[in-house]
Point group: C2
């Protein structure tokens, strides 16, 4: 445990079982795949597992009442492979069942604490564009939980990496810039908007809060990613350094791997659905081709957590 700083570089990647899967998206049950991953080797786990669902489907068909039992053995594996100073971010939200919010998420928190996890924080994801709909006894759900678990009270956290422009007009100006605008302004090294952003970093940046304001990525042509890349990106910047290893055991459409590649981190993705692994592998490959420029740009700025 005294060699944390050295471990956090890619020396860990040379370990046998891990090297086999490093920077890959593997098809399989994460419980099986993780058996081949050495203990204390992962810097960050960030994932959005299949939510509990009433009806049986090929993917994500866990009944709410069975969810805790289904999840706990996997959480044990996560505990084993996570570095002592690493972090586990779990995106989850209980559905309404029988007119009530189901209790499996809060039961899961209690059970994970009994198994050694620390429930360090609960971030709130405000989903700015939520699913439409109307019910007589309920409004649309517009938020999800981002549970932070750790193995010990001292964990790696790089708060400066996610500082955001100070509140008010500055934030709105930035939020309204499109990605292409950002690229254009950065590239024209001169008196563009990007340069002024750099000035603000020195003076007018504040630490964020535990509320994240992000829109879901709506209808991306290929895949319907409910887990927007900005979400893993934020936590990867916060809890890892370049060269560290990020694990997503339910990687779905690959957002976590995309974010890891963009930020120069290693990734290990797992999914039990073969189509998803193939899809996300293609998506990550595309990212890797355009990443050299992105890696530098994104690491300098891109530090907002949405609006407010």
């Amino acid at each position: 445990m005294g060699m944390i700083r050295e471990d956090s570089r890619s020396t860990q990647a040379s370990q046998r079982g891990l090297r086999r899967h490093l920077d890959e998206i593997v098809h399989g049950d994460c419980e099986d795949v993780l058996k081949e991953v050495p203990e204390d080797s992962i810097d960050l786990i960030v994932t959005s597992p299949p939510y509990a669902d009433q009806r049986k489907k090929s993917y994500g068909g866990i009944r709410p009442d069975d969810y805790v039992e289904w999840f706990l053995p996997k959480a044990d594996h996560f505990f084993r492979v996570l570095k002592p100073e690493g972090t586990f971010i779990l995106n989850i939200k209980e559905p309404a069942v029988n007119g009530e919010r189901h209790t499996y998420v809060i039961e899961l928190i209690l059970e994970m604490r009994r198994r050694g996890w620390l429930w360090t924080e609960e971030f709130m994801w405000h989903k700015k564009n939520s699913y439409p709909g109307k019910w007589p006894n309920r409004f649309r759900n517009n938020w999800e939980r981002l549970l932070q678990f750790n193995k010990q009270k001292q964990f790696k956290m790089l708060q400066e990496a996610v500082m955001a422009p100070v509140g008010g007009w500055a934030k709105n100006r930035l939020a309204n810039l499109s990605d292409t605008d950002k690229v254009r302004d950065e590239s024209r090294a001169g008196s563009g908007f990007g340069k002024r952003v750099a000035n603000w970093i020195d003076r007018e940046m504040v630490y964020p809060t535990n509320v994240l304001h992000l829109a879901t990525e709506s209808s991306n042509k290929q895949h319907s990613a409910v887990f927007p890349v900005a979400l893993p990106r934020w936590f990867i910047k916060l809890f890892t350094e370049p060269g560290d290893i990020v694990l997503d055991p339910f990687i779905g459409s690959g957002s976590t791997a995309v974010a890891a590649v963009e930020l120069g981190r290693h990734y290990l993705g797992i999914d039990i659905n073969r189509e998803f692994t193939e899809l996300s592998n293609r998506r990550v490959k595309k990212t890797q081709m355009r990443v050299p420029s992105l890696a530098e740009r994104r690491s300098t700025y891109y530090g907002d957590n949405g609006c407010q």
Copy 2:
């Protein structure tokens, strides 16, 4: 239960024990005071009880580990006095203790369900002005829970009363228009943009979500209420009709009573701290003097839940 509509008017107020305290803020322990309130007589309970605290103080000195035990007998009283179709809104948030979020809130949810409550929904209060500070392992807390409990699956809910103008959405639409579009629109008819926005606000109303964006009234020198009036106001409009009865058993600076008066509902406030009851009684008196005009104005509009 078949006379819900009649009961929801002030006929209930004629019952003996209730009439004694109606439209008053009473000094005492809510467990004692509520013994004098008949069962099934309250339409809405909305409250922000003292949060658990490490240190002992005169007000709010409950230790986190003792909180569930302290709260449950009170919750039993709330259950008794609440009408079958009534709602209980509980504003609460767990502090960080020993590097972790304490679990007493989620334990309380589980215990209240065992005692017959339905955990219908969890609204999220995004506190736009959160307490400052910086710590090595944690960001500032920027949200609190608003737990909704009910006695039965069918409860009174008047969704139209809290519909909000599309405001933010309209603004974003405008912001995303190209510059040339803006110029063209501004040049047109002089008055231009602002007027169009106003038209949209008047016309397009949408149902809110389960995320509320409100700032605390901390900077208010008269009464520094961490529970802003807008919060009880929103739930009173959503879950009661004019003439209904609202209970706040930990009324503090009186925000719930102020909102009830503004909206033409009866209130019953309780607080164990005598200074608070006197303060909030004065505050409510002031509200009652200016309310006749307010009641009409507020009931027509004032329906936003913050930014969005």
